[in-house]
Amino acid sequence: MTAVTISKYAQRPLAVGKFARNDLPPTARFQQQLGELAGYNALCRAKVVFRSVGSLTIPASSASTRVRARFAWHSGPYASRLEVRFVMAQQNNGTATAPFGRLQVVNTAGEYIGDAFARFGASATAVDAPDYFGTRTSLLGKSDQLTLLSDNVPVYIEPDTDYFATISEHDYGRIQSVSVREISMTPDTDNGYAQAVTTGGIIYDTDRATPVTMARALYRQGGAHLWNWWADTDATAPVFSTATYTNIIDTTSTDVSSFRPGARLDLRSRSRLKDGGQVPVVMKVYADGTNGVVRLLDSTGATIISASVTAGARWYPVQGLLPNTIAKYDLHAAALTGTMTLYAVSIWQGDVASQAVAASPAYLRIRAFDAA
């Protein structure tokens, strides 16, 4: 175990032409810079996986547990913990004394990983304005009782792993907005960071192998999350009952145009040599139906990625390629037969085909920060 010093300062791109040319010697300085850059990427460029809209129109309190959002994501290769920031509103028609919001994480096997809580809002009369909201920051943990936040046991998430999250309100809790990010592992050679070198030091194979491994893991599994869509509540989730593809945000449009709601995704300079100008992405859809389809359409209306919903309420994964351009994309859905209720869609950059290559558990041992 050897700690590695990583500066958090963003630096200019490395002056490769200054240090690495055919007629120059390998320098400790440049090797050090490569290692530091890899470490900076691992430490400071962790994923941000969710940001809610933050509307001031917040559903009224509910006594029963209510799901407010779902999303899926793939953890980065150096992810260690999850930090959740809630903005909570006061209850507006409840009588409980301890309402709270919650983010719960499960893995692909449906196994419970941990929770993050935000307790707030036991006022009898709520005003939905900033002065009456409360901000809570919480790390993912485990608790035997949902109401005992202080008993939480810290939970480390696994790097390079698919996860699903559910954001919910309990006991009249009201969530105004949520943001979720990953926190990286401590810079340490045991965690896969590159060791420092010095002038006069031996040129070892590991000095190169480590940054090569880091670069590969980062590029394939550390690419940024791209877009989440979710239903405001399960009760208001859109239900598709015809074979006509309809925009999932306004639930009325059937065409694609600049007038229709969709996200602009910037994928410029995010393509590898081998991918020939395309960026591998993963789309996961949470829906309930037996013959539904959710499509990602480009600005011409062409289907880029399509996920079939066939087996009831669950997450449906699909891989695809997007061009390395900046463009607007729309999400459409249809029920080819029967009905389909759509709850959430998440899209991220992910080189799934090569995932197994870099995700060596023996290599990536987890050590985390003690605190956020």
Binding site: T5, S7, K8, A10, Q11, R12, L14, A15, V16, G17, R21, D23, L24, P25, P26, A28, R29, L37, N41, L43, V48, R51, V53, G54, L56, R85, A129, P130, Y132, S177, S179, T198, T199, G200, G201, I203, Y204, R208, V212, A215, L218, Y219, G222, A224, A231, D232, T236, I249, T251, S258, P261, A263, R264, R268, S269, L273, K274, S354, V357, A372
Partner: protein, 1141 residues
């Protein structure tokens, strides 16, 4: 014909010296005056004096712990010629006509205003200090306009020019000062030169061919410096000069920093009020108002001394009496007759009074206790109606600055007096982290308040009133916490001091290279000495004439280790340049030296054969300076610089310099092996780095990155080295610079491995160089010979192998001509490679070889797939080069299974399979046995700091690739292609691949249908922007585009703000945004939905935690679903640096 320097480097020449002294219209020469004048024909000089002798002893050395050294000595002897003109000029006290400047002139001022021009010629020269100024006319006093010299040309006869293009004469500032801290003797303007010490001196060596001198432009600048002393020994005048390196070493910055004292009194703010009640009634309130008082019951917001307050209060009481609201008669004054002064309210007629006073005013007058801010203090007394005195409980004080800041919404405002120096606005130049809420319409600066606290404040001049407004604690961690333990700042009544001192602290923020250029060029007259880098105020820069710096100096700054990394220098008092930047240079392994007529920075490099520029052997020795025929090289094991332990001080607190000169943090670095080898202890070097702070400070050079660089080269100086001293032929003097790497071949030096005399091509660093140019000697017929000696540093590990990168050539996958398919001809087994991909980008530097030429016939090569799908199993072949020509490599066996859809790279085969010649390049060892493939001795990392010239974007467009594992294995070459691929991929990840994307579109339309007259809050969310630290030099933006429309066709606006804190407000209308980092506004009348134009907002002032807020507000009738685009940018950076007003 060439130049003098070219000829000197080529062999022995005949030469003379020509000397130019600033502001002196005669050249001095060791040769014939007429020839000198001819050679300097295109300069100011048209006259010359002979009889000069130059005793020049150039001596420079570098020391890893003293990066700014001296440059040697020079004495010019001038025997009487031309009627002893030079002796008379330098020694007479009578200076012809004299007057004084009445108005300061900076270096660009074209008009001289003086007391009188009467005694001066109608046109000619005048002298001020060391500067000569020509004029073409003069005026007498006209009305209020003083006498003036007109048609002025500044900096005449300046031996060094500015760095402008084209160069211009170098002039000086001449200040008329009323500053009580200055000597109040104003600059003398005279018709003859009066001042000699401090004049710039240039000594040029001119080759003489057939009696003709090389021209001034062709001559070699042998010495640059300034006059420090003039003597006369009865035979000749001696002019002693200091070298420009010594000038730099002792130069100071921060001489004119602004300072003042807080004005006596207290600042009363709008809405404060006084109220007087007595037994006869109650007066109207006396209100403090922000504008002009409208009645006797209003007073203006601002500063009030006790006297001011007393007068205003008495007027208030008098008016109330007139108005019949009070019955008593009152006066107020300070009684100093007792042991302790007290404020007295003398009153009569009424039987009681209650006077309600704002707390700060009460504290000033002694009615309230200092520091107790309760809003107001009640002062009351009662009696029988006779005259009585009511005394304050506490002594009055002269001045109060309320630290709680209640007077200005949490910020301080106070007037100052006794202003000195010049305030420098840093509104545009404060490091990004200083404050997110600086009002850019004001002029901001950082100040040291009462010697205790650093505050950020706006410098405001209103008429004759100077205020520091909106002052708040410096957000930079350079002073103590501003906590409640500190008492209010007050000045006791009987304190004779000028008041609470406050002075400006200059903060220079720039990339290191720009910072050094800025400091050296700046004269105080923006643009005088350089179009871009002469930008600091007077006293903040060194004002080295630009022609001594120039492109060579600037390139050397750019080539320094860490040149682009940010540095923030805090200049809190007059400081020598050495003290200011020495620590930074040491940590960067940099030094300043003089070579070929310019100043330049160099950097320590590990001596390697490949880096050597010249070989020193028996053929280029010469007679040493102090002996006649000893040509043997002296060798000694030296521990002079051996410091296996380095203690680095940083994080300087300028408010507590009494403790360890203010340094709060240290880090100790140790080469433990070296310490153990020295018996368990070793000498320590202490390095104080003024401009480095802890990472949490958020400003300046980051100690972590500096230390990493220092550590990387520490072994060079943590172990003993050898110093070789030998002579060199004078032709090499100007070819070798300090810090250069040379190869030493010497029969008299013992080999460090065998101990036997004779070494061959041992790489060494030139660490000292001394030479005397020789020439005529006063009183002797025979000229002295030139001599030159160097000292060379051989590191403890210089004898071990160190080599260049294993070469790389990329196959040209676009080449399909003839039988070629993606760069490979399977019929002829020829690979077509890209020409100069790894030599250079083809535009900046012309490499010696094309990439393919690094693989001559017989080379063993490995052709490997670039960016394979699976990094563990790339496609590759090993082969032998059959022949090679230009960009083509012909293989012996050929590449079966060539896939034209892939790209390939040529590198050397593994170490064991490579040829002996190929093994002169670098290969990798494994960590198990530190050997290459269990047999080969390992290669070592170099300390060479890279090429001086390089293309920053080299190969940036050739694709992102994930190198296969086989390039990182035991025995693989450390190839340059993989090295560059790693850099591209890692930088691409930092810039693009990891860039945060957080669009969020609402299922429900968010709209403003209720609030007509402003912004309605529609949504806000916390957002994470990464935990990296952004700076003014490297930052990111957030590209935003909303999905929105107008619901009724009226003009609507949508505003998205990136904030540090969450908004506040009891309603959603017109909320207060918490620390706006940046914001963007869209406007439309379109009733169709649209994605608004992308606007980038600046993220650099986000919190270090990465936490921020996105706030969306809209005007009446706007509708939105939120942000269709919320995309973090790549890293943005610039070489720009700030320019103060």
């Amino acid at each position: 014909m060439g130049t003098t320097l070219t000829a000197k480097n080529a062999g022995s020449i005949a030469s003379v010296f020509v000397i130019a002294i600033e502001g002196y219209e005669f050249l001095l020469t060791t040769g014939l005056p007429a020839a000198a004048v001819t050679a300097w024909a295109v300069t100011d000089w048209t006259q010359a004096l002979g009889g000069a002798y130059v005793d020049l002893d150039n001596e420079q050395s570098i020391d890893p712990y003293a990066p700014i050294g001296g440059g040697g000595k020079c004495v010019i002897r001038v025997v009487p010629t031309a009627g002893d003109r030079f002796g008379i000029d330098t020694h007479r006290k009578f200076s012809g006509a004299e007057t004084q400047l009445v108005e300061s002139i900076h270096r660009g001022t074209g008009t001289l205003k003086v007391l009188s021009t009467a005694a001066f010629d109608a046109s000619g020269y005048v002298y001020i200090g060391t500067e000569c100024i020509s004029y073409t006319g003069k005026t007498s006093t006209v009305g209020a306009v003083p006498p003036t010299f007109t048609g002025v040309s500044r900096g005449r006869f300046s031996p060094f020019k500015t760095g402008r293009i084209p160069e211009t004469n170098y002039a000086h500032d001449h200040r008329v000062t009323l500053d009580p801290n200055s000597v109040l003797l104003q600059p003398v303007v005279s018709s003859l030169p009066r001042v000699w010490r401090g004049r710039w001196v240039a000594i040029y060596e001119h080759r003489v061919v057939d009696g003709v001198l090389d021209t001034h432009a062709e001559a070699h600048l042998a010495f640059a410096g300034r006059v420090v002393d003039i003597e006369d020994d009865g035979k000749a005048v001696s002019v002693e000069c200091e070298h420009v390196l010594d000038v730099v070493q002792s130069a100071t910055v921060g001489r004119q920093l602004w300072s003042a004292n807080v004005k006596d009194g207290v600042y009363l703010k709008e809405f404060n009020s006084f109220l007087m009640i007595d037994s006869g009634g109650q007066a109207e309130r006396l209100w403090v108002v922000s504008g002009t008082p409208a009645s006797a019951y209003e007073m203006t917001q601002g500063y009030y001394t006790n006297e001011d307050l007393h007068a205003r209060i008495e007027a208030y009481w008098a008016q109330a009496l007139i108005d019949g609201d009070l019955t008593g008669s009152y006066s107020i004054y300070v009684d100093e007759s007792g042991d302790s002064p007290r404020t007295v309210i003398h009153w009569s007629v009424s039987t009681s009074f209650t006077f309600i006073v704002p707390d700060l005013a009460a504290q000033l007058m002694g009615f309230g206790e200092l520091g107790n801010n309760f809003g107001s203090v009640w002062v009351n007394d009662s009696g029988n109606g006779g005259a009585r005195d009511f005394l304050s409980n506490f002594p009055p004080v002269r001045s109060i600055v309320d630290k709680s800041g209640i007077i200005d919404n949490g910020r301080l405002s106070f007037e100052v007096t006794d202003e000195r120096g010049t305030f420098i606005s840093q509104t545009d130049s404060l490091p990004a982290v200083f404050d997110s809420s600086i009002d850019p319409t004001r002029t901001w600066g950082l100040f040291l308040f009462d010697g205790n606290v650093t505050i950020l404040a706006a410098y405001t001049v209103t008429g004759t009133t100077i205020e520091l407004k909106n002052a708040k604690l410096s957000p930079v961690n350079i002073g103590p916490a501003y906590n409640d333990d500190l008492t209010s700042y007050s000045v006791p009544w009987d304190d004779a001091s000028p008041g609470i001192p406050v002075r400006q602290i200059l903060v220079l923020s720039a990339p290191t290279a720009s910072f050094l250029k800025l400091i050296t060029y700046s004269t105080g007259t923006v643009g005088h000495n350089h179009e871009s880098f002469d930008a600091l105020e007077l006293g903040a820069g060194l004002a080295i004439p630009g022609s001594l710096l120039g492109s060579t100096f600037e390139a050397s700054c750019d080539a320094l280790p860490g040149a682009t990394e940010s540095v923030v220098s805090i200049i809190d008092k007059t400081t020598t340049l050495k003290d200011l930047i020495e620590g930074d240079l040491i940590l960067r392994r940099a030094f300043l030296n003089w070579h070929n007529g310019t100043l330049r920075f160099g950097s320590w490099r590990v001596p390697t054969r490949d880096a050597a520029t010249i070989t020193l052997d028996e053929s280029n020795k010469a007679t040493p300076a102090d002996t006649t025929d000893d040509h043997r090289t002296h060798s000694r094991e030296s521990t002079e610089w051996q410091r296996p332990i380095a203690r680095i001080y940083y994080d300087r607190d300028i408010t507590d310099l009494s403790t360890n000169d203010g340094y709060r943090s240290t880090v100790t670095l140790e080469d433990s092996t070296a310490v153990d080898d020295m018996g368990g202890s070793g000498p320590l070097v202490t390095i104080k780095v003024r401009n480095a702070f802890g990472e949490d400070a958020g400003v300046g050079a980051n100690i972590k990155s500096l230390i990493a660089n220092f550590l990387a080269t520490m072994p060079m100086f943590s172990r003993p080295g050898r110093i070789l001293t030998r002579t060199i032929t004078p032709t090499l003097v100007e070819q070798i610079a300090l810090g250069d790497i040379v190869l030493v071949t010497d029969n008299t030096v013992r080999d460090s491995i065998t101990g036997i005399r004779s070494v061959e091509e041992v790489p060494a660093v030139v660490v000292r160089k001394s030479d005397t140019p020789g020439g005529g000697v006063e009183g002797q017929d025979k000229a002295s010979d030139p001599t030159a000696t160097v000292e060379l540093f051989v590191t403890s590990f210089s004898a071990r192998p160190e080599a260049n990168y294993a070469p790389t050539a990329d196959v040209d996958d676009t080449y399909d001509a003839g039988d070629f398919d993606a760069g490979y001809n399977s019929l002829t087994k020829v690979l077509r490679c890209y020409g100069y991909r790894y030599g250079d980008d083809g535009s900046v530097i012309a490499p010696l070889f094309a990439d393919a030429e690094y693989f001559p016939a017989g080379s063993r090569v490995r052709v490997t797939e670039r960016d394979p799908l699976d990094g563990t199993t790339p496609q590759y072949w090993d082969d032998i080069v059959a022949s090679q020509s230009v960009d083509d490599i012909t293989l012996t066996t050929g590449l079966s299974g060539w896939d034209s859809t892939k790209a390939y790279r040529v590198t050397p085969d593994t170490y064991g399979d490579s040829t002996t010649a190929q093994r002169l390049k670098s290969y990798q060892a494994d960590t198990a046995d530190a050997l290459i493939e269990n047999t080969g001795a390992p290669y070592l990392y170099s300390g060479t700091f890279g090429a001086a010239q390089y293309a920053e974007n080299m190969n940036s467009t050739i694709g992102i690739e994930l190198p296969p594992d086989l390039h990182g294995t035991d025995g693989a070459g450390r190839d340059v292609g993989t090295e560059q691929a790693l850099q591209r991929t890692l930088d691409n990840f930092a810039d693009d691949k990891s860039a945060i994307s957080l669009p969020a579109l609402s299922n429900v339309v968010m709209t403003n249908t209720t609030f007509v007259n402003g912004w309605k809050l529609l949504s806000y969310t916390p957002i994470f922007l990464g935990t990296e630290l952004l700076s003014s030099d490297v930052w990111r933006e957030l590209a935003l585009a909303p999905f929105y429309r107008s619901s009724d066709g009226s003009t609507v606006q949508l505003r998205v703000s990136l904030c540090r804190n969450s908004p506040s407000g009891a309603t959603v209308n017109t909320v207060s945004l918490g620390g706006i980092l940046d914001s963007a506004t869209w406007s439309t009348t379109n009733t169709n939905w649209e994605v608004g134009t992308t606007i980038e907002v600046d993220c650099r002032r986000k919190a270090f935690s990465g936490r921020a807020w996105i706030v969306i507000e809209g005007t009446y009738k706007v509708e939105t679903r939120g942000l269709a685009l919320c995309q973090e940018s790549e890293r943005l950076y610039t070489n720009n640096w700030w320019v103060p007003i």
